[in-house]
Symmetry: C2
Subunit: 325 residues, 2 copies
Amino acid sequence: MKTVTGIAPVNIAVVKYWGKRDEDLILPINDSLSCTLSTDFMCAKTTIMASPTFPTHRFWLNGKESDFNNERLNNCLTEIRKRANPKCGDLLNWKLHICSENNFPTAAGLASSAAGYAALVSTLSALYNVEGDISAIARRGSGSACRSIYGGFVRWNKGAKPGGEDSIACQIASASHWPEMRVLILVVSDDQKKYSSTSGMKQSVLTSELLKHRAEKIVPGRVDEIIKAIKLKNFEAFAKITMQDSNQFHAICLDTYPPCFYMNDVSRMIIELVHAYNDYQGATKVAYTFDAGPNACLYLLQNDVDEVASLINDIFPSNTNPKKH
Amino acid sequence: MKTVTGIAPVNIAVVKYWGKRDEDLILPINDSLSCTLSTDFMCAKTTIMASPTFPTHRFWLNGKESDFNNERLNNCLTEIRKRANPKCGDLLNWKLHICSENNFPTAAGLASSAAGYAALVSTLSALYNVEGDISAIARRGSGSACRSIYGGFVRWNKGAKPGGEDSIACQIASASHWPEMRVLILVVSDDQKKYSSTSGMKQSVLTSELLKHRAEKIVPGRVDEIIKAIKLKNFEAFAKITMQDSNQFHAICLDTYPPCFYMNDVSRMIIELVHAYNDYQGATKVAYTFDAGPNACLYLLQNDVDEVASLINDIFPSNTNPKKH
């Protein structure tokens, strides 16, 4: 019997991933860039037990047994076993019991699958002593999971090879490079979203005439610009690109037919509040970004956290306190 | 003393006008196409009195005196006087009292300025016996006013000349061509909108990287396709382009920085209801379109009006009945 436990962080994209060029290999149509959050507050945790006496593989997600016969889970397992250390020997034949948990809402547009698959793949790689970059394997579970393999600021290169070997994540800057950077997560709703990211982006690729233009003509320049902003610790530039890219991603969802809506009226109030606050301050102090759900992630610097958190609590008093990460 | 009264209809665009290439001349960056509503339910009415004894020009909007020194009003007046019948003689020097009224909410994204300026310009043209196309003059008041000069289905050609002489409206098909076509207006809110169309589209031209692509690469094909659908009375094709174009226009508003939001959660519920209804029917029976406001315009055929109106009343019972036009 061998037991390994691993955790993986959530990552919040500032240049969004939306649209695959290959559904099975999970190859994106554009590069994306994210910030990995600290695991102190939100993370996914995977525990894997391997035993020669287990009759079958089994899988529990957030305490509930789920079907092991899950294509993405099996793709990850197959890929990681190809890279397993030859010394593992018989361990490769042992059946696995895999328990995966998030300490935050699942499938509410809070990158739960990214953290979940990153935890799964890194725990599997510890089990089988896999060496080298494992982000391409995490990508087979959930595209953006590849970015949760690294801390700090992470770029997912879309890659060019048909097999996806070069569609990997790489760290642009470590978390210690910009230690003042903070994220506030405002949970507008922890309901499961109506449209999954997978089906939403598939429909966008099929129907949005604006998506191709975004992927080919707009994102490359944005990624270069935001990397420059991160390297120079230029918060204003970082914040503006972050907000523009969040808006453009939701614009693409709206240009999809039928349209997918991820933001609601509360999301929009938060956007208007952020712009009003920045106008009042005469400087871009806070940036919002929304993934495929109504919940806001606010990027800001440490010095501004108390004031912004108070303002949010004043304006949205019925919520539980915003969580700081 | 001479008194003339005229009315003009509202038009609801199915391929949207959004973005000017010339702010003063009101020249658009793309063609647009609309359906002119019957004046039986919603219209703008202008009464003009000209008298040699009036000491000054005066102007009333919806019963309230407003400043005559309004650039758009004066642009229309200047242009129409250039084209006045020479027989008008001294009438051209008489001062005017102009009363303009809408019988529906103003500036709530219900094309009030389009109908208003179309009524103004057609009444002025009656006063001064102007002959020929006056849509380019109405355009100087409010871009889409040029489309309210004609009934039925109307195309506004963006034109190419720097002076805007060819940026005019033309009728694609008369109302009698497709007599079964109906519009239901669902008034979600009759509040004045937060962002005027003028400032919203200006900001979109300045900041939306998707808008240029839409105007240059997407709209020309859509206009051709919807004209074909109208000529063939192909409701399904007409409806799909109408919905796609409404969504794309709001996508551009969202891609604007800072973003403009015109739709709200109720607007989105209407969109989802229309798609669900069409799915249930197995055919595209209803199309939504939203201008720069939260209110929905539903296009549908006469046979489906009763069922759809009942459904809307069931789902949104707190509203007054939808108005049929």
